[in-house]
Structures are given as structure tokens and as C-alpha cells.
């Protein structure tokens, strides 16, 4: 089962870099991250890579493997032929720090901008009551492991650096959808979704759903319903009338 594979790994930093070629042993059942670790231990002790759980639960080891955004810990070597060269490069949407490690602070800045969860009061006995069917809609989005693969693949920011100022990316649109569908939350974030987080930039090509390692239906279950809710609010004639009358100057 053991064979020698050819790996091309991007090495470098913000000032530049290139693909370096390694020949490295691969054993039965291994994933790309195992092979990267073997490179570290035997040939490139300073090869920079993020990882934590090695079980697809933490979302740290994101990279592009043969050009496709993936978790290294969940990409089995058996999906490649023994003669196939495996190319590992850092997430392209974010600036490189070193080797496979990128500066993902954009995502943490977006997270901090989201209007926080605000719950309704508890019942008299100190409990919140919710039905399973109602919590499941938001639970789907709370499965998100924040691997940023959806952010990486989304062409709105992958190909247009300038859009980062106006568009927070699919991860945060489903965070807004999650809060919008949360049975206890009382804050209305629909205007913010459109005006501050760039919901309108998404043209629902569903690339984010395709790369999600958790199988979250970002577009179908999160972003499209959120768009519909925004449209309801903005273009429903009655709501429009109501908000216009409400805004009439007092004097």
C-alpha cells in the first residue's frame, strides 16, 4: 500500500513564492494532511500550515488541493492516482502569511460587525421553549465550522478584492439567516443584510454550497430565503406604505 507520491506545495510569504516539489511517502488510509505532516517532520520542518482536530470538526486546515478548496484532513489520498501529482496551495481569496497559512482576519472583522443575538425573555419558570422543527432551520447553519472555504470560493470576493468592503461573504450571510430564523431572536437584521453586508451582491451561483464540508445548503436554505425576506420588507406595498407614513415629518 505504501508508495511515494509527488507533492507540489506553495512555499513563500507576502513578498512572493513558488511551488516546490517533494517526493514523500504515503501509507494506506492517509489524508493530505498526513502527508503534509510527514513533509514537516522529515523534509521541511518550517512548512507553515494550520490544523487542529484532524477530523473535519474545527475547520483549520483549509487549502486548495489541485485547485479545489478543501479541508486537508478530509481529503483522502485514495482519491488520487499514485502517479498523480498533488498540488497544495493556500486559499487564494486571502493574503498569504506564509506557505499554506493565510491572513483570514477579514472573516473575524465581519463576524464582529454582525448585530449580536438578542433573546426574548424566558418563560416564567426560567426556561425557553422551542419546538425541534423550529430550531432545526438555524441549527443547519450553526453546523458551520468556519473553515472559510465558502469565502474562498465565492467569486464576488475571490476575483474582486474591492468587493470585500461591501460584501461580507456567504459565511456571514448564513449567519444573518441563522439569526433571522432563530426562534428566540428579536432583532431585525434585514436592512443590515442588504445595506451593510452586501446580500445583493450574491447572484446565487451556489459555489459556496458545493465546497461546504458540512454539506450546508448555504444558498437554498440560507441566502435565498434571506433575500426573499428582504424583498418582502422592501417591496411589499403595505409595508412600504406603513414605513412611509411612519416617516412623515412631525411638524
Amino acid at each position: 500500500m505504501t508508495y511515494d507520491a509527488t507533492f507540489r506545495v506553495w512555499r513563500g510569504d507576502a513578498s512572493g513564492g513558488d511551488l516546490q516539489t517533494y517526493t514523500v511517502e504515503v501509507n494506506e488510509g492517509e489524508v493530505v494532511l498526513d502527508v503534509v505532516h510527514r513533509l514537516q517532520a522529515t523534509q521541511a520542518g518550517d512548512l507553515a500550515v494550520r490544523w487542529n482536530c484532524k477530523a473535519g470538526k474545527c475547520g483549520s486546515c483549509s487549502a486548495e488541493i489541485n485547485g479545489r478548496p478543501r479541508l486537508m484532513c478530509m481529503t483522502r489520498m485514495s482519491t488520487f492516482g499514485e502517479a498523480e501529482t498533488v498540488t497544495v496551495t493556500p486559499l487564494r481569496t486571502f493574503p498569504v502569511i506564509r506557505d499554506l497559512v493565510t491572513d483570514v482576519s477579514f472573516n473575524y472583522e465581519q463576524a464582529a460587525r454582525i448585530p449580536a443575538f438578542a433573546p426574548q425573555a424566558r418563560d416564567a419558570d426560567g426556561n425557553h421553549r422551542m419546538q425541534q422543527v423550529d430550531v432545526e432551520r438555524s441549527q443547519e447553519f450553526r453546523k458551520c465550522i468556519e473553515c472559510w472555504l465558502c469565502q474562498d470560493t465565492c467569486h464576488v470576493i475571490r476575483d474582486h478584492e474591492g468587493n470585500k468592503a461591501a460584501f461580507s461573504g456567504p459565511r456571514f450571510l448564513i449567519r444573518l439567516a441563522e439569526l433571522d430564523m432563530h426562534p428566540l431572536d428579536v432583532t431585525d437584521r434585514r436592512d443590515a443584510a442588504q445595506d451593510e453586508f452586501g446580500l445583493g451582491y450574491c447572484n446565487i451561483t451556489k459555489c459556496c454550497s458545493e465546497v461546504c464540508p458540512e454539506g450546508i445548503h448555504l444558498t437554498d436554505n440560507g441566502i435565498i430565503p434571506l433575500k426573499e425576506r428582504v424583498v418582502d420588507r422592501r417591496f411589499d406595498p403595505l409595508t412600504f406604505l406603513g414605513s412611509t407614513i411612519g416617516r412623515r415629518p412631525k411638524d
Binding site: D13, N27, E28, G29, E30, V31, D34, Q40, A41, T42, G45, D46, L47, A48, V49, R50, W51, N52, C53, K54, A55, G56, K57, C58, G59, S60, M74, R76, I97, R98, D99, V101, V104, Y108, A111, A112, A116, F117, P119, R122, G126, N127, H128, R129, M130, Q131, Q132, V135, S138, Q139, R142, K143, C144, I145, E146, L179, H182, L184, D185
Partner: protein, 598 residues
Amino acid sequence: MELERHDYDVVVVGAGGAGLRAAIEAHESGARTAVVCKSLLGKAHTVMAEGGIAAAMANLYPEDNWRVHFRDTMRGGKMLNHWRMAQLHAQEAPDRVRELEDWGALFDRTPDGLISQRDFGGHRYARLAHVGDRTGLELIRTLQQRTVALGIDVYMECTVTRLLTDDDGVTGAFGYWRESGRFLAWRAPSVVLATGGIGKSYKVTSNSWEYTGDGHSLALQAGATLVNMEFVQFHPTGMVWPPSVRGILVTESVRGDGGILKNSAGNRFMFDYIPDFFRKETAETQDEADRWYEDKKNNRRPPELLPRDEVARAINSEVKAGRGTPHGGVFLDIASRRSAEYIRKRLPSMYHQFRELAEVDITAEAMEVGPTCHYVMGGVEVDPDSEAARVPGLFAAGEVAGGMHGSNRLGGNSLSDLLVFGRRAGAAAAAHALGHRDRAELPEDALADAARAALAPFDREGGENPYTVQHDLQQTMHDLVGIIRNATEMEQALERIAVLRERVANLSVEGHRQYNPGWHLALDLPHMLVVGECIARAALERQESRGGHTRDDFPATDAGWARTNLVCSLAADGSVALTRQPLPVMPAELAEIFEESP
């Protein structure tokens, strides 16, 4: 010297459940608070917890209350737990779960709309609040989002290498940015250690790279003590195949939700391993065990749900006796006992993990599982109410703290431990800081010394490769201080650790300071080594078997050791010193709980 400097009231080291809960509480108590963590925010090991948060909320069984939870916890720890910690934990856990809902957590529900609770090993009633089998993710995300909403400063990908102290206690901490390799120092009268465990000292482990015992080691160096270090939990069910995933956790929920263990002959072997200590509360027949899931009043718990130490030892014995699976584990079967739909619903991440990593469909076939190093019961000796260590201004909560779980932790009690004692540590750290507003200046020579020590591996040429040394340490602990121990092997381990100590002093790393994992490992290795030595020394000293410490040369529990804790400290020459300390005496009103019928 030139370095980045910050002033805070409270610095929390670690951003898992305990660290974030401590930071939230410290912040809300009015303290200027920082969190420092080795990974990105939200990636801490808490994220891997699967089963749930144990709390006697009585949402499914009105008979449940804190006394029953307290009793289960103490018995699971073979009565070595600090009674006061076990009491506080059982009393406060329900409120800690409820407040998570106010911060956005979405637990699975009962038909009445309350938080649902699931069965787990050693717990008399269904008690674990959960979200499928990804409860840890929900916990960490909820606390992370709360931390962000409160605007608490987080130093991500930043490693603390030293605690700074003077004669009056803690003055701050020193560390480096992983990204740039540049140094920084925090001046703070209170430091909360919430660094988690030590599993990376073992070869087969469910733990991530971060679990290098930093907090245990930092506490020792600052003059604090560690208690119960001989007790290491081997989770009974880790993956065993393929080799690259060996050790990855398979949640106890599989058994809580109806899964059973079988050997290669197809026998449900746990019935052969029921210890006298738990005989009265464990089912004798398969029929009774199977009825228990639906009717807990008239039936007793299946032996698969004995505490983890019992199940891990049983699996180990079956494999040793030649009744293991082809890859050296046993079979964990839920496929033949529950519908595929139920399994996918209750255990989605297990389904996904086995399908992706082992090409096994757990709704159709049995899993192969075996013990994996999972958790250290031992840790910093703290005051139960405040989590204060022996050094003024130093606090510890979560896995890095000791005492709460005695000789063996029950599943589900870890997440509740993080919340209960994280909150208490945060409050006490804030109170301590607010009483010490005059900041001590950090001595320049100590900062310069910390910087010199951190850079030493770059200055050495031709020294040892840190990855090789780590591998040898893991092999030593696995082979000689593992799940079954004896004096000869542990003495051998201590000899090897002495050699490893010299090798760690001679590490060299290639490259430069920017995001250099080889260098980072070189700085973690001394922590791993001293923790390994603590475990080996304490395990050699305790001449009995109890909980997560099993000796084949002393297979029985011992009444004398039932009243004795082992405490590790650092001697002046840097070696580990061991002292015996009597167990705190439980007050009569708690002791009588154990007289009640099981």
C-alpha cells in the same frame, strides 16, 4: 528590551470553553480582560466534544437533581474527586446551560420544547444537553460569539511561554505571535490558565496539537502545584483504522443512543466486566439492558454505559485475549440496533467521519474501536470555590485544573466543568485584579531571559529535530505509562524521560521566526516533557489501581490510597517533587447521599 506590551486586569490563557467563559465573566465583573490563544478563535479543542453537557435539569426525568448528579460524579471518579468541586459542579451546571440559550445556543428539544437530554456512561438519568453529536461546536461558537459581542480583546495565534511573578504573586505573562515570531508581554495581576490537557504526549490520542500541557507546566514553573496527575483517561472508543485516523474520537453517544460492544466472536462482552462497585446499578441480562433505554425505573443501565475507565479496560482485555477485530479493536454496533434514519439524525458527524475517513457506513456495519488517550483528570491544584492556585493571582479552570473528576471523569462532565469553573475563575480573577490596582513593573531581566530561551533553538546548529523528539516522547508514554502500567516499565519511562530532557535541551530548528511550526513545537516540548514526568512519577508512586490508573502489579484498589492525593511541584533544581496529601473530608450532609439507594 523592545517588545509589544499590554496592560490588563485579567489575562486568560486559552480560548476553549473554560477560557471564553472565564473571559466573559471577568469582563462582566468590570475587569479589562484579554484572551490569548494558540489557534484561531473558535478552533480550540472544545470544538471536538461531541456528546453533550451534563446538567441535572430534569427535563426528561423529574427524579433527577444535583444530588444524583453529584453522586454519579463522585462514584465515577472512585470517590477521589474534591467533594466541593463535584458539589458546585452538580448544583450550578443547569444554570450554566440555560444561560447559553440566552447567548444564542440552540440545543435539541424535548416534545415539550425544553432542552433535550441524552443518556451517557455513568449517569443515572438522561442528562446531557446536546446538539446532535456536535455539542462542543455549539458551545464554543456560542461563547465565541458572546466574547465578540462584548468586545473582549483576543490575541489569536499567540503562545504564552512564561508566567511572570514576583514575591506577591502573578505580575503578567510573556509570549510570542505565531505569525511573526515577535515577542509580547502582558502586565496583569490575574492570569487564568485554561489551556486544556496533555494528550499530545501520547501516541494514540483524540487530542489536537495544542494539547501539550502548557498550562500544567507554566503553573509548576510559577510555583503552583498539580494534583492527581497519575489519572489519565483513555476513552474506550477511538477509531482504530485506517492507521492515520487512529485515536480520533468516536462519541460515547453511540452507546448512549443504543450502540453495543462486541468482540470478534460476536459476544456482547461487557457483561463479563461488571465490577462489584457498580454491580447493583448495572443490568445483568441483555433483555434488561435493552429495556432500560425506554424504562429506566424498572431496569438497570447496560454495562456498555459503565464509566469510561471500566469500558476501556474491558476492551483492552478483549483485544489482549485475542478476541479483537482484524485491526486490533472491538466492534461498536449501532447499525443492527437502530434505524438508519435515527442514526443519521442523532449521530450525523459520526456518520460523516466514518464514511469520509474509513469508508464505513455506520448505519449498515459495525465500527472498529479501541482506547485512545482523551483527557487528563490531573491538573493545577485549586481552591474549589475560586479556582485560585497556590500562587496569588493565578487561577485555573477546565481540563488544566485538577480535583473535580477524581480518578476518572464521566462523559458530559467536561463541558459542564468548563462552564461552571470557567465562570468562577473569571469572577475570582476579576475580584483579585480589582483589589490589586497597583501594577508591578515587569523586570527587564526576566523578559530578556524569556526571549533568550525562546530563541535558543535557532542558535544551535546540528541539534535534534523537534519532530523526532516528540515522536520518541509519545512512544515512551504510550508504551510505558499507558492504559495498563507496572513499576518496571514506569521506571524505564523515567530513565527515558531523563534522556529526552537532554535531547530537548539540544533542539535546533530550521528557517526563521515567521509562522514556523518546527520552532513552535520546540517551545512546546519542554512542557510535554515535564507533564510526562509528573504522570510517570505519580503513577509509579500510587501502588493501587483506581479509575484512570491501572497497575497490573497492584490490580486492586487500596483503602489507604482512597484517602490520599499525590501532589506534584517543581523542586529548585527543576525536577518534579511528589508529596502525599490527605483527601479533603466530605461533610456529613453530603456523605449521606451515598447511603441512599442507587
